[in-house]
């Protein structure tokens, strides 16, 4: 076991999957010679060559569409969208084609593409280098949506995603690409999709979060220890499929829920969790469900630290929820 960063873990998963299976290949803008603008594909071009680390023209539609064609033919393409903010030109390919190929063909044409993309704020990226569009994809039947929060999960979830028979949108929390390091199992390491992780056990309030919000939530939870608030933190890890059992089990224990994400609140992924709690755990709840999220505005540049859920804002919500009822 060695301590590496999240982006190094992504790199390790890619390299090991490519060594294990000649049908795995990487494509995207600047992923080859340059090793990716975040260096996620560093060294792959040298090891595997231009055939398997494909620098593409600047066209997200082209990248996703070509990856679909490759997958139909039998390859396992891993396409990088340089920033998820630039994925929208490919939205038609993702929603109309990638998500629906297996279904519309009656199961004849699986489409095992992984779309990796850095998402989220906190890097002074403004409106177009900061967004969290997971809800669009989670809302589209046929796509799996995965968001790791630490290096070991990044490697384990990405490896599972690459060998999964279905399309996976793999959102990488770029804000913690390098700020979070952790031990990562050497060799093949898989984390199943659809299994949440309890990253901090507690009995008073359940907090549900994913990706770059996990360190924020853990900091908030730690800050409340002195006040005697025992916070349980559940890292969802995969939004589709969603580990509903883990969510319900935690709330049945604590009776209180706070949901945290960077994306805007209105029709955000947190709304689905709140709805699940209303449908299936209402009688376990001792307090209203709270959502701490990005606001219902475009992502602001200069004021991003006010927009993003901060440890203080999350701690405030946990404290209020703990006091209710």
């Amino acid at each position: 076991m060695t301590e590496i960063t999240l982006v190094q873990a992504v790199n390790q998963a890619l390299a090991e999957a490519m060594r294990a299976d000649p049908d795995v290949l990487v494509l995207g803008e600047d992923v080859g010679v340059n090793g990716g603008v975040f260096r996620a594909t560093e060294g792959l071009f040298k090891e595997f060559g231009a055939d398997r680390v494909v620098d593409t023209p600047l066209s997200e539609t082209g990248i996703v569409g070509a990856a679909i064609g490759m997958a139909l033919y039998g390859l396992k393409p891993v396409a990088e969208i340089q920033f998820v903010d630039f994925i929208y030109p490919a939205f038609d390919q993702i929603v109309s084609e990638l998500a629906k190929f297996r279904y519309r063909s009656g199961g004849q044409y699986p489409c095992p593409v992984v779309l990796r993309s850095p998402y989220g704020g906190g890097i002074k990226g403004g409106l177009y280098h900061s967004q969290s569009p997971e809800a669009y994809f989670a809302h589209t039947s046929g796509l799996k949506v995965v968001v790791p929060s630490n290096p070991a999960d990044a490697k384990g979830l990405l490896t599972t995603a690459i060998f999964d028979p279905d399309p996976v949108i793999f959102l990488e929390p770029k804000r913690i690409y390098r700020s979070v390091t952790g031990e990562v199992p050497a060799g093949e390491h898989r984390v199943p999709l659809g299994v949440a992780a309890t990253v901090r056990p507690g009995t008073d309030v359940s907090v549900f979060a994913y990706g770059a919000m996990i360190p924020t939530v853990l900091e908030a939870a730690a800050s409340l220890e002195g006040e005697g608030v025992r916070t349980e933190v559940i890292d969802l890890r995969s939004l589709v499929p969603l580990d509903e059992e883990a969510i319900l089990a935690s709330v049945r224990k604590t009776g209180r829920a706070v949901i945290v994400h960077e994306a805007p609140r209105f029709v955000g992924f947190g709304a689905e969790i709140a709805a699940i709690l209303a449908e299936k755990a209402l009688y376990s709840l001792k307090a209203p469900v709270k959502r701490i999220t990005g606001f219902d505005t475009p992502f602001p540049y200069a004021l991003e630290n006010l927009y993003l859920p901060s440890p203080a804002r999350v701690a405030g919500a946990i404290r209020d929820t703990a006091k209710e009822g």
Partner: protein, 360 residues
């Protein structure tokens, strides 16, 4: 048409032979089958026996001759108007009718509107409705074939309107850059629903749009089966010998409506339709066979009867096949149903049986 007659193109089509003479009766038979199938389906839609239909009348020569130039190992990425291609690939009529009805025999499990069929066994990829999305898939599949060193080409079909779409340009650009063995087969049928070709683009031809991407463009008379065959054979051998992609613009005419929801009388003149009808590609090949003594009027009538019987038998079989199982709605979203889909399946189950109140 005049452009094709003048031989205007950005890459030469070799003056090689046309269709193999011994194949002509089979080719004519397939074109006629497509025409009669089309007529039958239009009437089935009017009778409410199928929900929708997209006819190909006027495009039979372009499609059948094009598919004749392919090999069974090539991959086809169609749009939704490719009946002639499907027939040459060998997709059985019952498979098509099962799909039009969406019954238990439908390999798509009743998931799609008529005309959006696909069959992996025939390397005929299941179509979608957004135009042009399939173009870049053909390029990606060709990149995969290159990687596997498979001696095949991929071919994708689309119309004149689609040349305005993003994916047409992305597809040509990727094909040019990666020099893929891909044939872009544009059936310029002159009308994108109500939009005439000259309002779609100011470009002199559609084929010329390949030039800037480093993709040779060829204009052919799509009413002439021989010309189409020659162009596709040449594009195919160029692709296989490492010469890269080709854009073929087959100039045809959509003799019928865009779909059964369309009334072309609203936007085009009887005179225009009559002018193109006089160049009917099915009649044209029939004339050739009659002149060469390979077909008589009596033979032709007999052939039509035979084909109508074949169509009728396939339809009868499809109409007697059971309805699709309601609970299959939840299959193939993913390789394995998620717990959530399982729960929704159970939610529907009590309402899914005929007479349960939830069934149409």
């Amino acid at each position: 048409m005049s452009e094709a007659a003048a031989g205007r193109r950005t890459a030469p089509v070799a003056a090689g032979p046309g269709l193999p003479p011994e194949d002509l009766p089979k080719i004519y038979r397939t074109m006629l089958l497509a025409r009669l199938m089309d007529e039958r389906c239009l009437s089935l839609q009017r009778q409410g026996r199928i929900g929708f239909y997209v006819p190909l009348q006027g495009q039979e020569a372009a499609q059948v001759a094009c598919a004749w130039a392919l090999e069974p190992t090539d991959w086809v990425f169609p749009a939704y108007r490719e009946l002639g291609i499907a027939l040459v690939r060998g997709i059985p009529l019952t498979t098509l009718f099962d799909q039009f009805i969406g019954n238990a025999g439908d390999i798509l499990k009743g998931r799609q509107m008529p005309n959006h069929y696909g069959s992996r066994d025939h390397r005929f990829v299941t179509a979608s409705s957004p135009v042009g999305t399939q173009i870049i898939h053909a390029v990606g599949a060709a990149m995969a074939a290159q990687r596997h060193r498979d001696p095949i080409v991929t071919i994708t079909f689309f119309g004149d309107g689609t040349t305005s779409s993003n994916d047409f340009h992305s597809g040509l650009n990727f094909a040019g850059v990666f020099h893929t063995p891909t044939i872009f087969f544009c059936q310029n049928n002159q009308w994108a629903i109500s939009m005439p070709r000259e309002h779609q683009t100011r470009s002199e031809t559609l084929a010329v749009k390949g030039t800037a991407y480093g993709v040779p463009g060829v204009v052919v008379d799509g009413m002439d089966a021989h010309a189409v065959y020659r162009a596709v054979r040449e594009a195919r051998s160029r692709a296989l010998s490492g010469g890269g992609p080709t854009l073929i613009e087959a100039q045809v005419y959509r003799l019928g409506p865009h779909s059964t929801s369309d009334d072309p009388k609203r936007y085009r003149t009887d005179a225009e339709m009559a002018e193109w009808r006089a160049r009917d590609p099915v009649e044209r090949l029939k004339g050739e066979l009659v002149r060469s003594g390979q077909l008589t009027e009596a033979d032709d009538e007999k052939l039509k009867e035979e084909l109508r019987t074949e169509i009728g038998a396939a339809l009868k079989q499809a109409e007697s096949t059971a309805a699709v199982d309601p609970l299959t709605i939840f299959d193939d979203v993913f390789a394995v149903r998620t717990p959530r889909l399982d729960a929704e399946r159970e939610e529907l189950r009590p309402y899914s049986a005929p007479g349960s109140g939830g069934h149409p």
